[in-house]
Symmetry: C2
Subunit: 317 residues, 2 copies
């Protein structure tokens, strides 16, 4: 029996990859920059150069079950990356085929957020849970939806874009898409920064530790630091963010009735500051039949590991 | 091979039932009032009295594959009706067991909106379509979600309460649940009536044919009649309703990426008056990868038939 899989997480900035066994242990890992390559073939050449010695060390292709890849706008059905706004390679990129040609290993692709959800299902805090949703609260808001133990793909492979669902119709502009009031415009690191700027601008009289930072220094981390020091505006920012996130989560629960929601990504470092108002708003907007049932969890996987594990888990499916 | 199934649709007012063959033809049907019975056993006795001669006419229980029931808050997993706000029988009603004891036929239960979705899948305009959503726009807003050819039930059987998702946070009160700004508060017959009253009250100067009706006569039908005569306020009511419905549909599409959405129920009689603004708002709020892909359809099944067919289809699954 082949013992290993390759997991590759293609991010907007960095691509992380590693060799993983069936227990979810990463034997070896490394990373390369994603967007230094004008054409995807050069990117794949670079990947191959780094991975080939790793593969040889575990017994060559004969011992590798396949390659799993997570990538922005990655389509499981077609194995293509389609119109990913954060990547240099434009249009439709048949990356699974290109990988197979270079590596001689079958390659399965899905979007990065779906890969993270599979990582949780195979190795994380919802191991074996048949119905759950993962929400990645990073620079943006990603999501992976697991129904009956399988990633929800929809008819075309693009299901699960929960960060783009509208929760404040006519609300804050999302600069990337032009939509108004989507979840990602608020409950992301970028959204928290925007909320900070809005509140500091709208209440010019109110004292705040956040005023000690230049506009470039205002990040979700500085907001967290100030909130922990008892700063009122900083705390209000998390209350506001949690309220919007919680309302959205309530909507998601009334769609698919998951057993758990797993939160993931940089913003979760704010812990209960974010979790408490989120849970409160979620419960307040749920029908009674859903109340006090849904576990709201933080992922226990290390972020870098989860991406690789998640991608690799596509292979074991 | 047993040739027939019994389909029963338990509504808040009326229960419809019939005997159906595998081609989705209803051989015979009838109805009884739902809420005249203080205890569910009496209701089942009444059902039995009506159904027994029908069953005998097609060859008795030996020729019946089973009973499929759709009911408010019907739970597929447990076969129980749980805390249905519109029914007299309170608490948890083990109706599938009680039916089996009375009829000697296996009984499968699901909620009424899920039954309608199964009817569309087996016999309707999305026959064989693996990913779609049905939205019932009646007195309330119901929904059934089909993923990979199966009703989405969630971990506890209660998935698919899309009428209760929040689309206008802090918006209109839903009198039944106490929530603010849910889809059902706007995109139902009740919601259209409320919008009419709001607009007529907020713009007391503006002339409208709707002012010729007493407040009790203001219904979604009178709004439709006036809109068809070119009344501005009546048309604005449909624009407003369609905008909110379309925004919600966009959110649902970005969740499960269905191939089609099937609209159903009394409000769909308004045709393009509702459909056009709905489609416009849906497309405007979708990410480009979802745009111009989702079919927005009206159900072609007769409403009374669809409920019975849908319920019966649980048996053939």
């Amino acid at each position: 029996m082949k013992e290993f899989a390759i997991g590759i997480d293609v991010g907007g900035t960095t691509t992380k990859f590693g060799i993983v066994n069936r227990n979810g242990e990463i034997l070896v890992q490394d990373r390369i920059p994603t967007n230094e390559h004008e054409v995807v073939e050069e990117f794949i050449d670079d990947l191959y150069e780094k991975l080939k010695p790793m593969i040889d060390n575990v017994g060559g292709n004969d011992n590798i079950y396949g390659i799993g890849m997570g990538a922005p706008n990655g389509n499981f059905y077609s194995g293509t990356i389609e119109y990913a706004p954060n990547l240099k390679w434009k249009g439709i990129i048949p990356i699974a085929d290109l990988m197979y040609k270079k590596f001689g290993l079958h390659t399965k692709l899905t979007n990065d957020a779906n890969a993270a959800a599979m990582g949780e299902y195979m190795f994380g805090c919802t191991k074996g849970v048949k119905h759950f949703i993962t929400i990645t609260l990073g620079t943006g808001v990603g999501s992976g939806i697991v129904i009956d133990g399988k990633i929800l793909l929809g008819h075309d492979g693009f299901a699960g874009e929960l960060g783009h669902t509208i929760i404040r119709p006519g609300g804050r502009l999302h600069k990337g898409t032009g939509s108004h009031g989507c979840l990602e415009a608020y409950a992301s690191a970028t959204g928290v920064r925007e909320t900070a700027i809005e509140l500091l601008t709208n209440y010019p009289e109110q004292e705040s530790l956040l005023r000690n930072y230049t506009i470039n220094e205002l990040t979700s981390e500085t907001v967290y630091d100030c909130a922990m020091q008892g700063d009122n505006i900083a705390n209000e920012i998390f209350e506001f963010t949690g309220e919007i996130l919680g309302e959205s989560l309530a909507n998601f629960v009334m769609f698919s009735s998951p057993e758990a929601i797993v939160l993931f990504g940089g913003l979760t470092k704010s812990g209960n500051l974010l979790l408490n108002p989120t849970r409160k708003a979620m419960e307040a907007n749920l029908l009674p039949i859903f109340q006090n049932k849904v576990k709201l969890l933080f992922s226990e996987l290390k972020e870098a590991d989860a991406a690789i594990l998640g991608a690799s888990s596509l292979v074991w499916e």
